[in-house]
Amino acid sequence: MKWFDYAAPKTLSEALALLAAHPGARMLAGGTDLLVQMRAGRKPADLIIDIKNIAELNELRYERASGLTLGAAVACYRIYGDAAVSRAYPSLHQVASLIGGTQIQGRASIGGNLCNAAPSADSIPLLIALGATCRIAGAGGERVARVEEFCTAPGKNILAAGELLVSMHVPAPRPGSGASYLRFIPRNEMDIAVAGAGVAVELENGKFRSARIALSSVAPTPLFVREAGDWLTGKPVNGESIAGAAEIAKAAAKPITDMRGTKEYRRHLCSVLTRRALETAVRRAQEVQ
């Protein structure tokens, strides 16, 4: 790796000041993307700002009324190790336990997964389905963006120079709601998704009150398929409705062919994974109803 300096600010304002003074700086959360990319000569930086000592970025707080505040630097193991969070969001527990292996989960954050903006990032479709938002801070103040607006191209996001991601907010689960993320990989663990589907549903009187569906690894960015969820609204909760939404998701996918799979195979996976993820989400919704 090329030489860089290192700073570990303790406050958000200190971090923002450093960022403003060093346009070539990069943020270090768990480093499981950043250090790999820097070592490969991508992502050069003259200053690394370690953001793990900043209180707001380490916050993991669930409240029944207001939902979940997930600090951008919180590592995966803290999410699945938190009983209240795991109970309220079994789907988040699931995603935090499938990113990498045990060692990676000791470091990797969901904030890093989002900021890295890989098309294959496993947490992003689920965050989109759950309706999560991002708290972004910069020298000029703060703003909020929806997760589905965050990634703009492979490895690119909406953060402007001088801005960083502080935390994500996930709305409190409503009665009769459930979510799930499912990916396909050739191994059982430790691999990059060939395709993945994150879904969230809300059921009422045997019908879908609302649904949100997003896909990974089948477009330049994680893909929010709004029309698939909208189509489900008002439909009865049954296999036919689920299969219909899965077909819409499949039609929305714009995959490429690469060493992990052909575009035809990936499209097929979109429908299978969406259907299975919806089945799990429905089951979870019925359990908490």
Binding site: F4, G31, V36, I48, D50, Y77, T102, R107, N188
Partner: protein, 158 residues
């Protein structure tokens, strides 16, 4: 100006200070500066787990940690597993089960497996395989490794 950083840390229960460049990984610092060469480099990109160490209470791949991040933290490496000349029972179990061939992956497997047994004394085979999914071995085919760890889990149960 390019300046090295003074890092104060605790390694295997001993206070250790070292001077490193910010760009050096914890793996490089342990091996090349501190002289603890038990921790191995396999892939240097987080995939193989041969560089596994315990950082505070979590196992991590030390190739994906900067040495400067160790400031004020506690590290356990493979050198901290045996008690003097007394092998840890996991180390013994690796020997009796022939759970190693070239040995490059072994320190990582032992550090990772010990962390599992420390937090969950009785994992079943599936749990062991899942926990060790981030440790790769090109020689043994894994069965003997899983057998060695399972044996220690069973002992804990007995």
């Amino acid at each position: 100006m390019q300046r090295k950083v003074h890092v104060r840390t605790t390694i295997n229960n001993q206070a250790v200070e070292f001077l490193c460049e910010p760009r050096q990984s914890l793996l490089e610092c342990l091996r090349d500066i501190v002289g603890l060469t038990g921790t191995k480099e396999g892939c240097n990109d987080g995939n193989c787990g041969s560089c596994t160490v315990v950082l505070d209470d979590r196992i991590v791949t030390s190739c994906l940690v900067l040495g400067v991040e160790a400031e004020g933290r506690k590290i356990t490496t493979i050198e901290g597993i045996a008690a003097g000349n007394q092998l840890h029972r996991l180390q013994q179990a690796f020997l009796t089960n022939a759970a190693l061939q070239c040995g490059i992956c072994t320190p990582g497997f032992i550090v990772a497996a010990k962390a599992l047994l420390d937090s969950e004394p009785n994992p079943d085979e599936e749990r062991i395989r899942l926990w060790l999914a981030g440790n790769l071995c090109r020689c043994t085919g894994y069965d003997k490794i899983v057998r060695a760890v399972s044996e220690c889990a069973r002992e804990a149960k007995a």
